[in-house]
């Protein structure tokens, strides 16, 4: 069996060019990501912003110039200056310090809610799409029911009923995002259920569970990752919105949504900085996640670009 049985001619059609070196899995993805970042500076910028946010979330409390909770009535309502870069609020707290410290809380809320829904929604969706039948019907019905509410309104209702805590904000944000993840995972699993390579895997003796985990899951992961990045922005907005109307995080804890709410009353008397800087921080974070999501989508599937 060592020799080639028949000297068949080499195929007439040209093969796609071989990669310079045999890149595998992760390394190839990383290399590609670098290529995309280089060819698309906006995505590069988004990666840089993301790094800055992570850094601020990690180091925020250590590097603040002032105690974010310490009030100083003598220095209340000061416009931005060299001493207070972002000015001070009505009780004289340093806004720059508060904005910086708030990064960690907002980031944690977003990451944990997205991680939660990624696992739950992704799992439910893949099972629904792959197994079909009753699994599909029940899971889809749950999603439909959640989708029957305007999402932010449902989040309000959940936090109001469960109680006013950060954990419940995370939970509510995860619940309202559940249908999105579930539907994407379901659709992706469903189109692959009868795909040639899945049928082939059945022929080679793979059990259904194994096909789900080893064949289908890796193919769905990239799309779910993109979704994760895109909904991070929404999760932050959702949490900040809830805080803005007085749900979830309580003052004086520094959190971007609350800080904007605190500054709202001063806008019409001209003290713009109290609301502006936390609002800007919020906006930049969401902007960063959206750009990142678009960039990731380009890395994974250039055709899907919109």
């Amino acid at each position: 069996m060592s020799e080639i049985p028949t000297a068949l001619p080499s195929l007439a059609e040209p093969a796609p060019p071989a990669p310079a070196r045999p890149a595998t899995g992760f390394a190839a993805g990383l290399g590609h990501a670098r290529h995309v970042a280089a060819s698309n500076p906006i995505t590069g910028l988004a990666f840089a912003m993301f790094a800055a946010i992570v850094l601020a979330a990690l180091l925020g409390p250590v590097i603040t110039p002032y105690d974010p909770l310490a009030s100083d009535t003598a220095a209340a309502l000061q416009a931005p200056s060299r001493a207070h870069w972002f000015g001070t609020d009505q009780v004289g707290r340093d806004i720059f310090s508060r904005v910086l410290v708030a990064t960690r809380l907002d980031f944690i809320i977003a990451v944990s809610s997205v991680a939660l829904v990624f696992v739950l929604g992704g799992f439910a969706g893949i099972c629904a799409g792959f197994y079909g039948g009753w699994t599909d019907r029940i899971v889809s019905r749950i999603s439909d029911t959640i989708m029957a509410f305007p999402l932010f309104v449902l989040a309000m209702g959940i936090v109001a009923a469960l109680g006013n805590t950060v954990t419940n904000i995370v939970l509510a944000t995860a619940i309202v995002n559940f249908p999105l993840y579930q539907r994407i995972a379901r659709a992706e699993a469903n189109v692959r259920r009868e795909a040639g390579f899945v049928q082939a895997a059945r022929l080679t003796g793979n059990s259904e569970m194994r096909i789900l985990l080893a064949q289908i899951l890796p193919n769905i992961m990239p799309i779910m990752m993109v979704q994760m990045s895109l909904t991070m922005g929404y999760a932050i907005l959702n949490a900040a919105g809830l805080s803005f109307i007085g749900l979830g995080v309580k003052p004086p804890t520094p959190e971007w949504g609350i800080m904007v709410a605190e500054g709202a009353g001063f806008i019409i008397s001209g003290e713009w900085w109290i609301a502006l800087f936390p609002g800007l921080a919020l906006m930049l974070a969401v902007f960063c996640f959206n750009l990142l999501g678009d960039g990731l989508r380009d890395v994974i599937d250039p055709q899907r670009r919109t």
């Binding site: 080639i4 595998t24 049928q199 059945r202 259904e208």
Partner: protein
């Protein structure tokens, strides 16, 4: 008077991520009035791009880099967009591959034809409708008044193509460009559509450019043939001459690779290939029945799956509650070492049959016996864990779809070895995969590549290696070459034949193409509407078909005259040449 269309030195470039690519290189093409010219080539030959460039409907990334295009003495390259748009549809028309997609899905087909008539002021608001209906009549659409109001999704593929033809010919253009007009249609539909196009264009004295990958189609319907390869014209000659005495080596190879009456499997390969004679090594226990299928039935409920099935049945299926029988009492046998061909048009139930024999779908009734074991009794869901699983394997239709995009070729071939072969250890698996790769002629350095880094033929080889990894007794070949170019198809078919005699397997070869089936199979079953229409030895069925349907099927297959030294060459040429052409 000069040529109707005169293309000189046409070069088309596409801007891609890897830089500029020339899809068409210095192509010359002349079409006289009333002439039918075929542009033939395999995928990537630039045959479609040439026509898009003539029509100036290249997409954004493409541009004409060089050359001239003259139509009736008018310089099309210099024409402005408004002038071109006046010309399109009125002077030059196009019909496309995939007719269902070529029509606006949410506009009535009658309105779509009307749009064209009114655009070119052939008809006003008063008579547009009457003219549209007259046009529908000309393309042989029954009940044109009713069909005027139909949407594309309510019509069959063949009917949609008629609408597209009506749309293209509505303004009596001088030149029709038909871009793979029948790809994806069944052979009988293909013949009806092509005959219609020929008749209508001839009646109008129109010139036609027929773009196709199918030499047989070009031979049957064209006066002159232009053969293209990788963006260049390699040969231009009258159709008879190209097929009787091809000049260019590539044309010759293409000719040889096209399955046709009288061709042999080895004869498909390029001349001078050191292929051993196809000796049939005697298989142990040859002749004993390996697979017995008795009274196989598969029913689908009409509700729920209604739309798909209604399309297959052709529009007006009764809405009764009786389930639809995709396979209706099928019985056949495959002996050890034998190849059985299962032939039929789309919707005849051949794929459903193969899925049931493969034990991926459960039959409604009937028995499937492999050797001594009633494998039909084991539910498809549990068959993956059955010891019989490794005895039947399959080569899939679409090599791309059948490989997991995130697995390397090695991982794909190793899958059955690890799951069922009981093979342990990296090195042992690798060694076995390399042996299999050699067996199917896959260069070893390609084993670490992902599917998107492999060509179609290479992917097909990976799929075959995976199927034979555990030396199964029966392999089902589900249109294994349908997605491949003919030259690659020739190689893959030969490979399959060699593997069979070497490993002593039996094949169930499912295909729509009788000529391809004949090359590989000893016996053939012709299916229609879930039933067997005719069965017999491959030669007998092709040479002397008994059933009317089989005769119709065979008559519908366009075939090039067998070139070179093959038998019956002169006779075939006479058959295939269009009597009124030239």
């Amino acid at each position: 008077m000069g040529a109707l269309l005169d293309v000189k030195g046409l070069t088309v470039e596409f801007a891609t991520r890897r830089g500029t690519v020339q899809a068409v290189k210095r192509v010359d093409l002349e079409v006289a009035r009333g002439e039918t010219v075929g542009i033939v080539g395999e995928s990537g030959s630039g045959k479609s791009v040439t026509s898009y460039a003539v029509m100036r409907i290249l997409d954004r990334a493409g541009r004409i880099a060089d050359g001239s295009v003259a139509f009736s003495g008018l310089d099309l390259r210099a024409a402005d967009e408004r002038g071109m748009s006046d010309l399109r549809g009125r002077e030059i028309s196009m019909i496309f591959q995939n007719p269902r997609m070529a029509l606006n899905p949410i506009r009535k087909v009658g309105r779509q034809i009307e749009d064209v008539l009114r655009r070119h002021a052939i008809a006003g608001s008063m008579d547009a409708r009457a003219r549209t209906i007259a046009m529908l009549e000309q393309v042989r659409i029954a009940n044109p008044e009713e069909r005027y109001h139909a949407y594309p999704f309510e019509l069959s593929g063949g009917m949609c193509q008629r609408i597209v033809i009506a749309l293209a010919l509505a303004c009596r253009p001088q030149l029709l460009i038909a871009d793979e007009p029948t790809t994806g249609l069944d052979v009988t539909t293909q013949k009806a559509v092509m005959d219609l196009v020929t008749e209508l264009t001839r009646a109008r004295g129109m010139a036609t450019i027929l773009i196709t990958h199918d030499l047989g189609l070009a031979a049957t319907y064209c006066d002159r043939v232009v053969v293209m390869r990788q963006g260049e014209v390699v040969e231009t000659a009258p159709a008879a001459q190209v097929f009787a005495a091809p000049q260019d080596p590539y044309t010759r190879r293409l000719m040889r690779a096209t399955p046709r009456p009288g061709a042999t499997l080895r004869g498909l390969l390029p001349e001078g290939t050191p292929a051993p004679p196809a000796m049939r090594a005697p298989v142990a226990g040859a002749g004993a029945p390996l697979l017995r299928v008795e009274g196989l039935v598969k029913e689908y409920p009409r509700q729920g799956t209604s739309r798909t099935w209604r399309q297959i049945l052709g529009g007006g299926a009764p809405a009764d509650a009786a389930p639809f029988r995709a396979v209706d009492g099928l019985s056949f046998e495959i002996r050890r070492g034998e190849s059985l061909g299962l032939v039929g048009e789309s919707g005849c139930g051949k794929s459903t049959t193969s899925m049931m024999v493969m034990r991926l779908t459960d039959p409604t009734a009937g028995r499937i016996v492999l050797g001594e074991d009633d494998i039909g009794a084991i539910p498809a869901r549990r068959f993956a864990a059955s010891p019989h699983r490794r005895r039947i394997q399959m080569v899939f239709q679409d090599p791309t779809d059948s490989l997991n995009p995130r697995f390397t070729a090695l991982r794909a071939i190793a899958d059955p070895l690890m799951r069922m072969g009981g093979l342990k250890g990296r090195d042992a698996i690798r060694a076995r995969c390399e042996a299999l790769a050699e067996l199917v002629g896959l260069p070893l350095d390609l084993l670490d590549r992902f599917p998107h880094q492999l060509s179609g033929g290479q992917k097909a080889r990976v799929g075959i290696a995976r199927a034979i990894a555990l030396e199964p007794e029966l392999v089902i070949l589900d249109e294994p070459t349908a997605a491949l170019d003919v030259s690659v198809q020739a190689v893959v078919l030969n490979l399959l034949e060699d593997l069979k005699s070497k490993l002593g397997m039996s094949y169930l070869f499912v295909s729509h193409d009788l000529h391809v089936v004949r090359l590989l199979c000893d016996r053939v079953i012709v299916m229609r509407q879930g039933r067997i229409v005719e069965a017999g030895s491959a030669e007998a069925v092709l040479e002397a078909p008994q059933a009317a349907y089989t005769r119709e099927l065979i008559a519908a297959i366009p075939h090039p005259p067998a070139g070179g030294k093959a038998v019956r060459a002169s006779e075939s040429v006479a058959d295939a040449r269009d009597p009124s052409a030239g």
